[in-house]
């Protein structure tokens, strides 16, 4: 058991190291001078002395592998470095931005789950028409580009009906449209997978035996079928996390929400290497954590996995 846990931790550390390394060298390929990011961005008419001073200060005049080793060394002590463009420790920036993105992602995932499960259960019990409608809704939802969905939601609910704010506001109202934008397409994906599972479960022997034991239809659905339907959804949550982070880049830009997605986009455009690597590391860490969690939840929810382990 301990050995297994140790392997898990080692695997997680490996993922983080590889993600940092890939990003570090990936950004080296991008044309553009990081020293300029420090000096007010591209197009600044920075003097030669200023550029040289900055290169020396940030170690940019060193060979790339020296910079890399230094960076890794600092990373080892938990220091993410300092952002070129925002002149602030990366950890501080991420700390300020991560809450908004996590809240957005968590809410979107939860709403997507509710929609997907609801749709799956409703459409599997409502006969052929309901099945066709449910299936069509899922497929269409999964096929809608989220930036377009966002604009349509703003047009309908903010500009025309004036029910909901178009940009982030301190209260919960500002979260509604961004969450819907991310949740609807995601619900389409999850719904497609869950429905297959629910249909399988409805024909499975354990449901037959439950029915034979005289359990009510509602009881059967809640206790067995839903749980069975949820399993692939849980397994997909790790993937959904990455999907949501990608979506957050778009959604945070459209709805002017502070968050990691927007930070990442700006940082890439400004060639702010420490900030990009920092965000990537945090996202990778999030992915690792979510994967561990979903494995654990799957074990609890799926008796077969429990007995196997």
């Amino acid at each position: 058991m301990l050995v297994k846990a140790a392997w898990g931790v080692a695997g997680g550390v490996f993922v983080l190291w590889a993600a940092a390394t890939l990003t570090f060298f990936g950004l080296r390929l991008i044309p553009g001078d990081p020293a300029q990011a420090v000096l007010g961005g591209p197009g600044s008419q920075a003097s030669a002395e200023a550029l040289a001073a900055v290169r020396a200060e940030y170690g940019l005049d060193q060979p790339v592998w020296v910079q890399y080793l230094r960076y890794l060394g600092r990373l080892g002590t938990g220091d993410l470095g300092s952002s070129y463009s925002l002149r602030q420790p990366v950890a501080e920036i991420i700390g300020a931005q991560i809450g908004g993105t996590l809240l957005l992602a968590a809410l979107s995932l939860a709403v997507a789950w509710v929609i997907a499960l609801g749709l799956a259960v409703w459409s599997t019990r409502g006969g052929r028409v309901a099945a066709a409608v449910g299936s069509a809704l899922e497929i269409v939802a999964a096929a809608v580009p989220h930036f377009w969905l966002a604009m349509v939601l703003v047009l309908v609910f903010s500009t025309t009906l004036r029910w909901l704010p178009a940009v982030s506001t301190p209260g919960p109202a500002g979260l509604v449209l961004p969450v819907l934008t991310l949740a609807l397409p995601l619900a389409g994906f999850l719904g497609q997978v869950m429905r297959e599972s629910v249909l399988d479960a409805l024909e499975a022997p354990f449901v037959l035996s439950a029915r034979a034991r005289g359990e009510s239809e509602g009881g059967v659905r809640w206790r067995h079928v839903l749980r069975h339907g949820a399993l692939p959804g849980i397994a997909l949550s790790g993937w959904a996390f990455g999907w949501l982070i990608s979506g957050a880049v778009v959604v945070e830009t459209i709805f002017a929400r502070p968050g990691l997605g927007r930070t990442l986009l700006n940082a890439v455009q400004l060639r702010d290497v420490p900030l990009v690597v920092g965000v990537v590391l945090v996202v990778a860490l999030g992915y690792v954590v979510v994967t561990v969690l979903t494995d654990a939840v799957s074990r609890i929810a799926d008796p077969r996995l429990r007995s196997a382990s």
């Binding site: 993922v15 590889a18 890939l22 991008i30 096929a143 580009p145 990455g242 990608s246």
Partner: protein, 275 residues
């Protein structure tokens, strides 16, 4: 998901499937011979006829430069589908190599590939795409490659699992016992059974690839203007959403319809496959 038995009484071609088939045929015609459906020039501008709502002569209306949106949607099928199909092909091609290597070349390779997939998975797909595009410049080719790379790890996982389950299947074990050569086992038993279902994934992935390419266009990283590509048209039209809804509605409809139709057909193939 791929090994599920066909449901009792499930007919192969219901009305939904027929519609999907019709959409795909229409798409193929639009992609291969757009002039048959829309003889006009998708780039011809007419500033005096800008922002016309749908009407006779302009069934889908006109855009901000007076270009005919119907013509552009039809001519947009080819680049949009090429992006979708090519990105999926890149993703699945890479995934095949990685997935099969992991499943068949022993534990060390499997371990290495699995870790690599973990790392790729931990990367937000859009960041991978952003990096590729900032390095090589925006455009159809780079965004296609970017989307392909971003989708590869997902496919690779499925293929690895599939190949492993096939490799452990009784008929493969039987072949091993019978002393068949490795190459023969791979070619006769494992490849067909592990790889063929993957082609189903292609149809499922094409729609998604088109949608992601559209997202890149929104960030200004997709096809270069004035390309008649659906994502780029959506991007140009979103600024006029309140005044000229038709500029985004029709390209949006084309994306949703083609993504949905290919998904439906993909499912159909999936069922046939398991039979």
């Amino acid at each position: 998901m791929l090994t599920r038995a066909p449901r009792r009484g499930a007919r192969l071609l219901g009305p939904v499937q027929w519609v999907a088939l019709a959409v795909v045929v229409l798409l193929l015609v639009a992609a291969l011979a757009p002039s048959v459906l829309a003889p006009g020039d998708p780039f011809a501008i007419a500033p005096a006829e800008a922002f016309l709502s749908p009407r006779w002569g302009h069934p889908f209306g006109t855009d901000e430069s007076g270009r005919d949106i119907y013509t552009r949607v039809v001519h947009g099928a080819a680049p949009s589908l090429v992006i979708g199909v090519a990105a999926t092909a890149i993703g699945i091609g890479l995934a095949l190599v990685l997935g099969l290597a992991a499943a068949l070349l022993g534990r060390v390779v499997d371990f290495a590939v699995s870790r690599l997939l973990e790392v790729l998975f931990a990367f937000p797909g859009l960041l991978l795409a952003l990096l590729v595009i900032t390095v090589y410049g925006p455009g159809v080719v780079t965004s296609t490659i970017a989307v392909g790379l971003a989708t590869a790890p997902g496919y690779a996982r499925i293929i690895r699992a599939q190949a492993r389950s096939v490799a452990g299947a009784p008929y493969v074990e039987a072949a091993v016992v019978l002393g068949r050569s490795r190459a023969r086992i791979l070619g006769r038993h494992i490849l067909p059974n592990a790889v063929v279902p993957v082609f189903v994934l292609v149809t499922l992935g094409v729609g998604q690839a088109i949608v992601w390419a559209a997202a890149l266009s929104y960030l200004g990283l997709g096809a270069e203007p004035p390309a008649a590509e659906w994502g780029a048209m959506l991007f140009a039209g979103k600024n006029y959403l309140a005044t000229a809804w038709w500029m985004t509605f029709f390209p949006g409809l084309a994306i949703v319809l083609s993504a949905a139709a290919t998904t439906v057909l993909g499912r159909l193939l999936q069922r046939r496959e398991v039979r």
